[in-house]
């Protein structure tokens, strides 16, 4: 740097981008070394697996950028550090997912048997019962919510796309629907309670209320997904129908809706999957019981999430029976949600309009 001679060559190095690079396998090598070192320390100090991973990642985060700083330059070192950091963030995000699924399967799978699915908890004292009553309640209340939400949601979406378009009312509905997706579920439950108290007096419990509360959470999801799907229907189709003299409403029912059907069904199924696990509103308005109740309009109705909640918070004097049942019910609930998610994709495929229309 001190002599004039050095300068051009130094600059030339940069221009030709030929400065030293770490080999391609460097990150892998450092990762292996980091884990080896951390594992060795763990052997010496008796750490658990969590500590090994944490220390290994820390070593990686320090060693690779340092190496890069020495061989490459500061900017590359920062880049490598951030790259490592981003991947670590990803890993961290998946730790709870894996841990949660693994715990639920490990704790829940052993209790799943025929009795668990076909018995309720009525007259069960000090032995394992079943979640039949909770499954029935969940299905009925969710179905009730779907029956309320789908027509309202779908019609609103039709209004937004076909009628309202850019009117002031449509844009305010669109905006408020977005805001509505953020309503806390407990508030939906309180609303249902406050509404039903007016008609049935204090202490009201009924499955219908749960349906109303859940539909408050479900409608915005249905509206948004249906709206997206209706927007995707090509305008040519509509115009072709109009040209044939088909009235607008018939065009929507016979042309637009069938074309968007696949997406709408997918959206509705996903919306059901979203609300089927809701607990807080049902805790308030549907209550809890250990008998099966088929009547949405009368008395307490048990649901899977509420069953899980009470088995956890009030296991009675046999927690060794109630706890595994809570895990088992949690596993069943997760499976239901996953099946619904899969179903959404499968149904979307089945109802997808044939290509080449």
């Amino acid at each position: 740097m001190t002599t004039l001679m050095d300068k051009p060559s130094d600059a030339l190095d940069h221009v030709s981008l030929k400065h030293a690079r770490l080999p391609r396998w460097a990150p892998v090598l450092v990762l292996v070394i980091a884990f080896a070192a951390s594992g060795l320390l763990a052997l010496l100090l008796g750490w658990g697996p969590v500590a090994i991973v944490v220390v290994a990642l820390l070593i990686y985060l320090v060693v690779l950028p340092t190496w890069s700083r020495v061989v490459e330059n500061r900017r590359s070192a920062v880049d490598r550090f951030v790259t490592a950091l981003v991947w670590v963030a990803l890993g961290l995000a998946f730790v709870p997912l894996v841990s949660l699924l693994w715990t639920v399967i490990r704790e829940g799978a052993p209790v799943l048997d025929a009795k668990f699915f076909t018995w309720s908890m009525r007259n069960i004292v000090g032995e394992k019962g079943g979640i039949y009553h909770a499954i029935i309640g969940t299905l009925l209340i969710t179905a009730c919510a779907a029956v309320i939400s789908v027509p309202i949601g779908l019609l609103t979406a039709i209004y937004l796309v076909e009628y309202g378009a850019k009117s002031r009312m449509a844009s305010s509905i669109r905006f408020l629907v977005d805001v509505m997706t953020g309503i806390p579920s407990i508030v939906a439950g309180l609303f249902a309670y406050a509404l039903f108290v007016v008609f049935f007096g204090p202490g009201v419990h009924m499955g219908l209320g749960g349906g109303v509360a859940l539909s408050l959470l479900m409608i915005p999801i249905v509206v948004r997904s249906s709206e997206e799907m209706l927007k995707l229907v090509p305008t040519d189709l509509r115009e072709a129908a109009y040209a044939l003299g088909v009235p607008k409403w018939k065009t929507i029912v016979k042309v637009v809706l069938p074309t968007a059907l696949a997406g709408i069904i997918t959206g509705v199924t996903l919306a059901i999957a979203r609300v089927i696990g809701e607990t807080a509103p049902l805790l308030i308005i549907a209550g809890s019981t250990d008998s099966t109740n088929f009547n949405l309009f009368k008395d307490q109705m048990m649901t899977l999430p509420v069953f899980i909640y009470y088995s956890y918070t009030q296991p009675g004097n046999h927690p060794e029976i109630a706890r595994p049942m809570a895990w088992g019910a949690a596993l069943v609930l997760i499976l239901i949600v996953l099946v619904l998610n899969l179903l959404a994709r499968v149904l979307g495929k089945i109802f997808a309009p044939k290509t080449g229309h």
């Binding site: 018995w119 007259n123 202490g203 209550g287 019981t289 099966t292 008395d299 004097n317 109802f351």
Partner: protein, 367 residues
């Protein structure tokens, strides 16, 4: 194309509907079985709420009564005695279970009278010891004098190797672990009985009046008895109080009665309740017991609770009156008390109490 895709939706939805009906056509496996065995005229639904201490006993009573009367459903929310009484007084439930008698000073007696249109009835249905449970590594047996217990829960005694605890347990190896006293965060009859005991037997170490609400704003709060059990069981150096029937694997301390160290037992609680008189100041149908916390009777365990069932003498609905009467009769019957003793390890109520309770319950009628 349009038609076919609309038609394609019909088949799966029909299938889903059919599945729904198939499911709803039959009840749960255990419920259909019982339908044939039990038969009686009683049918309908009762809602109760209250003491979580008597939850195990209540489970047994509900099952026993529902088995005998297949058309009956009884729901019991172990929400805590305070909540149960308030809910009953507000008309939210048909009966309440409470570990503490209705409190006239708090207006509970008047509120119950207002709700029922006449003096509410209150019968003892469940007598059970409250265990002082602890979870200290390496300690299996623990003796605690009332004053020591009061010191621990008041936060004055902070570590397990405190001199006061050492004095009660000269032979035990006590660790220097910090004491983590757990209390009930909800309104609880167990708390009221426990604080009543600390106040009366604690020799001045407890300066708060007996109350359903834990009087000190520190320490770990746990919701309901089961929350207490999991908090004590899951912690280190924890100590708490709970109905003996609910403590499960947790270890319970022996308390000092007179000069003897007495472990919690149903017999001990029964002895203590026998040594206690009824409260004369109460109306006719109210069998509140004045528990003698400082009894020195041999074998008695005065850290115990008497639970009550609180109901109305009359109900608007004939079926409801019959149901309440039937259920309460079953609970205080010898059979019901035995059922509770088997399931919850409680002590049967003394025969003299049972007899008086029977005549009170018999008077329940429709308006």
């Amino acid at each position: 194309m349009n038609r076919t895709s609309l038609r394609r939706i019909a088949a799966p939805s029909a299938a889903a509907l059919a599945l729904g009906f198939a499911l709803s056509a039959c009840g749960a496996g255990n419920e259909t079985d019982n339908a044939s065995s039990g038969s009686s005229d009683l049918s309908g639904k009762l809602d109760g709420s209250g003491s979580s201490a008597q939850e195990s006993a209540m489970d047994a009573w509900r099952a026993g009564f529902q088995k005998a009367n297949s058309g009956v459903t009884i729901n019991y929310d172990p929400a805590g005695s305070g909540a149960g009484v308030e809910k009953f007084n507000a008309g939210g439930v048909d009966f309440a279970g409470s570990d503490a008698a209705l409190d006239p000073e708090k207006g509970e007696v008047d509120a119950a009278k207002k709700r029922c249109g006449a003096d509410a009835i209150e019968v003892p249905n469940y007598v059970s010891p409250i265990a002082v449970v602890f979870n200290v590594e390496g300690v299996d047996k623990l003796n605690l004098a009332p004053k020591t217990i009061a010191g621990i829960f008041a936060g004055k005694i902070k570590t397990w190797d405190d001199a006061a605890i050492k004095a009660d347990n000269p032979d035990a190896k006590l660790p220097s672990t910090k004491i983590d006293p757990v209390h009930r965060s909800d309104e609880s009859g167990t708390t009221k009985n426990f604080t009543d005991y600390l106040e009366k037997a604690g020799d001045g170490a407890w300066t708060y009046p007996a109350d359903k609400v834990w009087p000190i704003k520190s320490g770990e709060g746990a919701n309901q008895t089961s929350g207490m059990i999991s908090a004590v069981g899951g912690g280190k150096g924890t100590v708490g109080y709970a109905d003996l029937s609910q403590v499960g694997d947790l270890k319970a301390a022996s308390i000092k009665v007179g000069d003897a160290w007495t472990p919690p037992s149903a017999e001990g609680a029964a002895k203590a309740v026998e040594a206690s008189p009824l409260d004369d100041s109460r109306p006719e149908g109210d069998m509140a017991v004045k528990i003698d916390r400082t009894t020195t009777a041999a074998g008695a365990y005065p850290l115990m609770l008497t639970s009550y069932l609180i109901a109305c003498p009359t109900y608007d609905d004939k079926a409801k009156a019959a149901l309440v009467k039937g259920f309460l009769t079953y609970v205080i019957s010898e059979e019901g008390q035995q059922e509770a003793a088997d399931n919850a390890g409680s002590a049967p109520i003394p025969a003299s109490f049972a007899e008086k309770a029977k005549t009170i319950v018999d008077s329940i009628s429709a308006k």
